[in-house]
Symmetry: C2
Subunit: 607 residues, 2 copies
């Protein structure tokens, strides 16, 4: 069993991604070239990733005092990934890229996430280099970004600090100009950085020749103190090893030291680190501090970084999605082969008859269809968002701007929804396996542990909820929300004409109204404390409504196809979502509408 | 912070357990003697269990070829438990017991589950011995049960087999009479057993002098074949080491061999085993097969075993509950101490102000209050059920019979509800910790992993759902359901007179009607395939309705107390349940009412 038919259906039959070749940037592409990329990635994932997923869980990264040791399999997998050219898939031909649409790139990367999410492909490295392509100088692009795209260097994002996880305004890492000639460095204005960064994925390893850290830090103002708040934050390139203007290592180690490895519940194939910048462990060029090169202008660090974070959020959503998919496939396979129990009714009363396979039990079917509905629905959502990224980058101006704004509204859902519901899918995958699912002899408990990270990193559920209800649905006078409502209504108008879908179209219309009414009610007092007290239930209801829309739209595409098992399955997964899931929004929206302060107003001592 | 005040409030102020001393069996008891037991158990749990909870997770049981090695801490903890006399707490004075009510015993054991669920106290051993006290001969009681109560021996339940997890009718272990004198053995009719048993907790270790396995097996009929179905199942005592009629080891090892240790996702302090009975690894008394002594009559094995399983199910519910409580306390403590971010509104705009502790954020409060509502509500439910056990055993005849029937209906909820919602609580505890919660430096990820077992063992959610909707709500012409409805209505009648509770009372009345209507609708066609297709959503809705009732009843007791932080907190947790949770039943009941066959009717190839 492969996820490929689902990917193909969504990309081509639903999103018509092959028609992107009508655009100049993708003119050399066709379904054939896209398929070749998907084939290659599917093969590498199958051969170099999937077989080692349990191994990277048991052979956690460790520090031998000098180096961080990772399994050989991780080295091999990441080399195969880099050799495939996927790190620069979306880049221009002239710098060695494939000019691949982001939607195809995202689909191709999905195979790696499904095979072994924590071996990892190149999400951080690509995102890091993309940021430099957008905000770096030509020299920074050439020296750093291009060497990330070709796999020589890898990249990190260094935002969080131990005392300030999600609160970026409290970043305490400081950057001061590095001497009189600091402005004249060809790699960019040169600073010395001091501070500690926490939760840095791939922060230390020997997988690549060098590591390019992108670090948020504050430049002290004229009074010598860091500027308070996010306005004071700037962005710096801090390479692990210093390089010259040709991108060659100078032989000098920069003052970036591993302070500790985080030992996680899952996702153990990826090193996660606490890094000390400029603490003096590796003094460099006779002075204190880690050497860093300013990217963009002082004080615009967060703006630059957010360029990277939105793609990272879609990437996290896709990772969560494919873990859900992996659990679905594993438990479906198990259910088709494991005999246990007998059917209900008279046929099941005869114990002399052999046991049936558990897929014949209604509750097992329910748990499988729920997983299918969550994971394939989430995949559709992620690919839809990826297609919006292509629209934003290559569409006509108005369409591009609409895509930008739709992405603003949908990104919190693309990040949060799969992280919650594909985790639930993984729990159901364990449940289908019974006791076996709870053992480390089967893969599903690891999927579940791995997936638990996704509700936390790249902005927690709480952060996504505040972003959605506190910012995204309000921005540009609510235009993003209105654009989304227009798209949902367009789907409803088409579906209402299909007898099999009409009732669902009506249910979606009602849900959309309810979300709209709750949005208004939340802000009726104009007081953020009232509105945002239930931002997470709002996020959950909004997410379920978006997924119902995605499923209805996918169903329209499925409906149009000739009869097949796959068509039957997709329509059933859609019906599952409308019958079992969408009605859940009532409970979530009620507290939003009521501006319920049961939690927010409870005094601390009463807990 | 301690859970003790909550336990005291529920036991004494809500359930009036101290009034049990008006009954003859408990006449020597008083609140003072109960408190002394609780004090002792709280202390042992704090000193011998809690400090080693992470250690038993990392030092998993292993087999050195001869023995299963467990950490010294586990030996020490279980010795302290046995020394406390808790193994025989509920037994008669004349055999060394304390004649403690089950409700107090259950409350006392809750401290161990909270401190380290997988070090374990004596649930299986006590349950095993209780079963022998109910169904064994005097000799079996004296030789086996009494030595379990005094801690010399420990006990197991051997039901599942590799090819038949939940499907007991497919048990393939065989038992044949052991020679001509087999009926005359003073320890009970002697048989030889052959077969494999899977998922046996504490199936092999050196914690006690001997292990008393209670094994389900089939005695071949006159045709030499095992009787098909559950009717052919009998129950046997199979000691790991043979004993004489004084309970002394004879020096003979019985033919029970460890075939493998299960390596689990969590709950790693408890050995979980695959055992081979009678495979010839330890030939005994010159013949093939493990020696076992029949308990009760042939063919009545399941009936005897179910005596043990109902208490075991309440025990699993309590374990899940206390893991939820442990996560709640850990995350509350973290939230009170971790500074991060700033309040909403103008006060939070000034980045020069110090960060606030995260308990000041509304969404963190929501996650904490949800945990409180789940864990303390579940604890109330478990203690309520434990109090029913006391009523069943010591109440007046009619009250005792009502208690028996109420327990039949409530046991599936007592087992399943905490296993689902206190797992959700543990996930929220991780979320409150952010990235730190995902590391093994904090206890919450282990609680979450440990708790995932509880939805599986002692009957999965699927089994509990079928039991509830397929059997319990129908049995004795629906009298159990009617009894429960009467109790719920009695609470509603009291609450409706309290202005602060009246709206909740009405909401509960509506929920009860909806559950009743869904029950009828599910069975409207009389076809179990229709009715039971959505047995799990029914179980979830039924569970939430029961918990709403429990909370309303608890709130009546809280309401009556003088103002305090604890009172405020309890009433808020109740309101949380009514505002955020009870409305969820609508979505679950809809598919039950509609007899929705979206899942059940989907052909296998369409997945």
């Amino acid at each position: 069993m492969s996820v490929r038919p689902t990917v193909d259906f969504l990309l081509y039959d639903w999103l018509s991604v092959d028609s992107l070749n009508q655009r100049e940037r993708f003119a050399d592409h066709s379904r054939e070239t896209f398929d070749a990329v998907l084939d290659t990635c599917e093969r590498i994932a199958r051969e170099k990733y999937a077989p080692f997923n349990r191994l990277v869980d048991t052979q956690e990264p460790h520090f031998d005092g000098e180096k961080v040791i990772l399994p050989q399999a991780t080295h091999d997998a990441q080399k195969a990934y880099a050799d495939s050219g996927m790190l620069s898939a979306a880049q221009d031909y002239e710098i060695g890229g494939m000019q691949l649409p982001y939607s195809v790139e995202a689909a191709a990367n999905a195979f790696f996430a499904m095979a072994s999410v924590s071996i990892g492909s190149g999400m951080l490295t690509t995102g890091n280099a993309n940021l430099l392509m957008a905000h770096g100088t030509d020299m920074q692009k050439r020296v750093f970004a291009l060497n990330e795209f070709n796999g020589r260097f890898s990249g990190t994002m260094c935002l969080s600090e131990p005392q300030a996880g999600s609160s970026l305004s409290d970043v305490a890492t400081r950057a001061v100009p590095d001497g009189a000639d600091s402005e004249a460095d060809p790699l960019g204005p040169r600073y010395r950085l001091k501070g500690n960064k926490m939760w840095i994925s791939a922060g230390e390893h020997e997988l690549t020749e060098n590591i390019v850290h992108l670090v948020l830090a504050k430049i002290p103002g004229p009074d010598g103190k860091p500027v308070p708040g996010v306005k004071g934050i700037s962005l710096f390139i801090v390479p692990k090893k210093l390089v010259d203007t040709d991108g060659q290592l100078t032989g000098e180690r920069n003052d970036v030291a591993l302070a500790g490895l985080n030992h996680k519940c899952g996702w153990r194939g990826t090193t996660n680190t606490l890094l000390n910048f400029g603490e003096g462990k590796y003094p460099v060029r006779g002075d204190a501090g880690a050497i860093g090169y300013l990217v963009g202008r002082p004080g615009e660090g967060l703006k630059c970084m957010f360029h990277m974070m939105n793609e990272a959020r879609i990437g996290v959503g896709m990772a969560a999605t494919m873990l859900g998919m992996a659990g679905y496939h594993a438990s479906l396979d198990y259910a088709k082969n494991r005999p246990q129990g007998r059917p209900m009714g008279p046929a099941g009363k005869d114990p002399a008859q052999p046991q049936v396979r558990i897929i014949e039990h209604a509750d097992v079917k329910r748990m499988l269809l729920a997983q299918k509905s969550y994971a394939e629905g989430a995949l559709a959502l992620e690919l839809y968002c990826a297609r919006l990224v292509d629209e934003q980058h290559t569409g006509a101006p108005e369409a591009a701007d609409d895509a930008r704004l739709l992405l603003e509204v949908l990104t919190p859902i693309a990040k949060s929804w799969p992280s919650e519901w594909c985790l639930e899918a993984n729990s159901l995958a364990i449940q289908v396996h019974g006791g076996y699912g709870y053992t480390r002899d089967f893969p599903v408990e690891q999927y579940w542990r791995d997936n638990r990270l996704n509700m936390i990193h790249e902005g927690t559920h709480g952060i996504q909820g505040m972003d959605l209800l506190g910012r995204k649905v309000l921005m540009e006078n609510g235009k993003g929300l209105q654009l989304l409502a227009d798209r949902i209504n367009a789907t409803i108008q088409r579906a209402i004409q299909v007898p099999e879908l009409a009732a669902h179209a009506n249910a979606l219309g009602k849900a959309l109204q309810d979300v709209g009414a709750a949005t208004k009610a939340a802000w009726a007092t104009g007081n953020p404390t009232d509105a945002l007290a239930n931002a997470v239930p709002y996020l959950q209801a909004f997410g379920h409504t978006v997924l119902a829309w995605i499923w209805l739209d996918v169903a329209l595409a499925a409906q149009a196809q000739p009869d097949s098992h796959a068509r039957t399955g997709r329509l059933a997964a859609m019906r599952f979502f409308f019958h079992y899931e969408l009605p859940k929004i009532g409970a979530w929206l009620q507290v939003v509408r009521d501006r319920d302060l049961t939690c927010a107003s409870l005094p601390e001592d009463a807990f």
